[in-house]
Symmetry: C2
Subunit: 503 residues, 2 copies
């Protein structure tokens, strides 16, 4: 690993992971700049909240158009800072643009407002309830999805869709891309008629802490590491007025091959390797552990698959590369044994894609073996019987996703395994891999601690909007004093429950 | 205040607030008893979750019947421990029985499951999402509503309705009633076919802490003081696996009389006194602060109303009585002046119902004047102009409820005041008082910190169920491995969104 630092620069740097070469990056935000950005968000919050969802959808759609128009140059810039490759980034950008439009459409549909009207009866007052936007939201994007979970990713899009201004803290792994996306958002939102302050961008560690502790900031969206998410969660809990932190963090996502599925071991091994090395293993949904029946020869199949595929590439940052090296060492010290390690590229923040095997009895609650190691490494353990499998499953911490590879729909173990894993995860995948996260009404991207700080929240899918609102009930208020969704004539045309009946 | 302690008893005591005389109360739970109770809850959790909502509704309905059949003796016992009066308690018991049935009916209706199906299309997998019960819930009831927020109150009913076993920590203010309700629940639930462990009861401070820190407990419902709620919230956050704490705590609930409503000052003063002295001011929704226009002679009207009504009674516990005395002193030290104080009864934990006046400029953020003083005291401040009113409104901390008394629906100040208060509270009442909390689909009983630890949660109303579930997505799972609500043929007949369309 080499880390060449440009001698001409003194401020923040943008690094090229393939070489470690740095160029100058936009400066960190000064405290007064953070203050001004949050003040603008606060000042416009009521205006953003009062705009009909259709307006917010139009703003987000305009941003999506602008991003797609500049796809080539944005992806080139993103590739320079992440080494994720232009093809992958081009697809990610297109999906992120689709997400901006999707959250706008969800906002317009209006179910997320959860509008309920109970007309007065028998001495009980007229009561109406609707979700109202929380106000300015601080968004911390992730290093590994510079578009999908970056400046204009799911958190930003769903927060604006829900009627909240957003202040994004730029990720230091892609500072120039963040700045470019920020400028694009600012100019596009202004042209689309969004109130000034609807979107803001700050940079720097101190700026991030200032956001989370700022009295005007009402919630935090975060995607990234355990350490980062928990630190923000604690910071927010220590405020005089604590605020919710929706941190989506990395976990070990377990895949189980059933006994009836053992005949598919070679195919499963190939899929496993493809999935855990995707994006150089830098997915929060990476399958980090495969439990396979003894006798399936899974260790051999995985060794062959990894050796045949021989994925290679670079990690996103120097610190991720260092943590990967350290993480591999910790796994090996904890009883894991190397099955196969690929040769990494020579330069930059390259990392060896690696499969480890581990005795299933070593998978105990609290073990390092069940902590995420961010990067292209995964563990395989073989189980001899139900007792061994159950023991491992009950030791699993909460996760974002889990998978079962079965012998087909009639597999007698399938329903039990799905139910068991559902108790420990946010998404259970059958006969597939968790690394693809489709965007839609039914998606849930979250899960029990430590996958997230709030297991009821999703950072992908239609329900993402509801993180940034809270209900308010109005008792005997005249129509003119009510928010539009719960006025008698339903001017926004949103779905409602009226006197107990869904309409 | 007198506190006679029976010399024959050595364990926990049950006090009669009217006299301070104590009788023996059920013993505190030993650690092994707490462990056994939680173990039973854990062991039955999957069974409770798997029962159709109609079964859970039947269990709750059976409990409601049992409680109502024993209404007279339960209310007599409750009155002995709370001095809230048999008529009030009889009404509360009937409403609590209604709530048990209501949450069962909400569970059966099924919207709270938020079942969503996105069928596979264009290479996107089949995705289905449904809310699943969290598992054992620890419930801490309140002193002031021994039925409504007691052993069988809203938290217990909504948690069981959502498919979670419950372990209640008995409130020390009514230990004998708690034990009686607990026994009733245990026998009735068993007879109704609920799995053993669906309900459990423990007693004692240490038992409560043990519940919150127990690995098998998945969430906490709490109703009570700021200090108690925040302490449990911190305890839960310090667990190796933190869990959500839904604490509904006391706040200062503000009422504003508009200028156009000034002609109603005498009527509003009477309503204010009736509301803030209801249940000896021991309501979390007590209106603790009235802002009235200068020239409305509100101070005089309130003085007259309190002197005329002269409410008298007892507080629930010795510690509440002590805190009330201390709280009054703190308010007076902070610039409040006594308008009128009633003469309390001579014995027991009597307390003087009191109105204080305060200069509106003293209502600054962080002031003791804006902290709840639990008991029959309220403040009145007069505002001379918009600047003074706005200053006070912007200093208000979050609250459970707020009220506006207007000059009618056309009052030009009404909409602005409702919107302003909606930004700081969970429920805005127009031309009424917040002390009545109707149960229904549209109710929201919660609010921004410090009203609750989670402003998206409600402890009353149909949405109370959703506190105790989390979403799980199932990807490409066969029907036989799916929970009932998201199986293709919808065996539970719940409302769903299918391919984006609400059905």
């Amino acid at each position: 690993m080499s880390l060449a630092r440009s001698t001409e620069t003194s401020g923040p740097l943008s690094f090229e992971p393939r070489s470690g070469i740095a160029v100058s990056a936009p400066p960190e935000s000064r405290r007064d700049q953070v203050e001004a950005t949050v003040a603008a968000a606060r000042a416009c919050a009521a205006h953003v909240a009062a705009r009909p969802p259709a307006s917010r959808a139009a703003w987000l759609s305009a941003v999506a158009d602008a991003v797609q128009e500049r796809s080539a140059q944005l992806c080139e810039l993103a590739d320079a800072e992440t080494a994720l490759g232009v093809p992958r980034l081009t697809g990610e950008l297109a999906r992120a643009a689709g997400a901006l439009r999707f959250y706008g459409a969800v906002a317009e549909e209006g179910s997320w407002l959860d509008a309920v009207i109970d007309h007065a009866r028998d001495g009980v007052p007229d009561l109406r309830r609707v979700n109202v936007p929380l106000g300015p939201i601080a968004v911390f994007g992730a290093s590994n999805f510079p578009f999908g979970f970056g400046v204009l990713g799911h958190d930003t899009a769903s927060a604006i869709a829900s009627g909240c201004p957003v202040v994004v803290k730029a990720h230091p792994a892609h500072p120039r891309l963040s700045a470019a996306l920020g400028e694009l958002a600012l100019s596009t939102l202004a042209a689309a008629g969004a109130p000034s302050g609807t979107f803001g961008l700050v940079a720097g560690f101190d700026a991030g802490a200032a956001l989370v502790t700022h009295p005007a900031v009402r919630a935090v969206g975060f995607t990234g590491s355990q350490a980062g998410g928990v630190a923000l969660w604690k910071l927010a809990a220590g405020r005089p007025v604590p605020i919710p932190v929706f941190a989506e963090m990395g976990t070990v996502n377990t895949a189980v091959l059933t006994r009836a599925g053992a005949g598919r071991a070679a195919e499963v091994a190939a899929g496993f390797v493809d999935s855990f090395t995707l994006g150089m293993g830098q997915f929060c949904t990476k399958p980090g552990l495969l439990l396979a029946p003894a006798g399936s020869a899974m260790i051999d199949h995985v060794r062959n698959a990894l050796a045949t595929r021989a994925p290679s590439g670079w990690l996103l940052t120097a610190s991720i590369a260092r943590a990967y090296t350290t993480g591999l060492e910790r796994l090996l010290e904890s009883g894991a044994r190397t099955v196969h390690a690929c040769a990494p590229p020579a330069d930059g923040w390259a990392a060896p894609a690696t499969v480890l095997e581990v005795d299933i009895a070593a998978l105990q609650a609290g073990s390092v073996l069940l902590e995420e190691c961010f990067g292209p490494v995964a563990l395989v353990a073989e189980y001899a019987d139900d007792t061994e499998l159950d023991g491992a499953l009950h030791a699993l911490p909460g996760s974002l996703a889990a998978a079962v590879h079965s012998g087909g729909p009639e597999d007698p173990e399938l329903a039990g395994l799905v139910a068991c894993l559902a108790g420990r995860t946010g998404r259970v995948v059958v006969d597939g891999w968790p690394t693809g996260v489709a965007l839609g009404w039914a998606q849930h991207h979250g899960g029990p601690w430590p996958a997230t700080t709030n297991s009821s929240a999703s950072s992908v899918g239609a329900s993402a909007l509801t993180r940034f609102v809270r209900p308010v009930a109005y008792q005997d208020a005249p129509d003119s004093a009510l928010p539009e969704p719960i006025r008698e004539l339903n001017p926004w045309g949103v779905p409602r429950r009226v006197d107990g009946v869904r309409a």
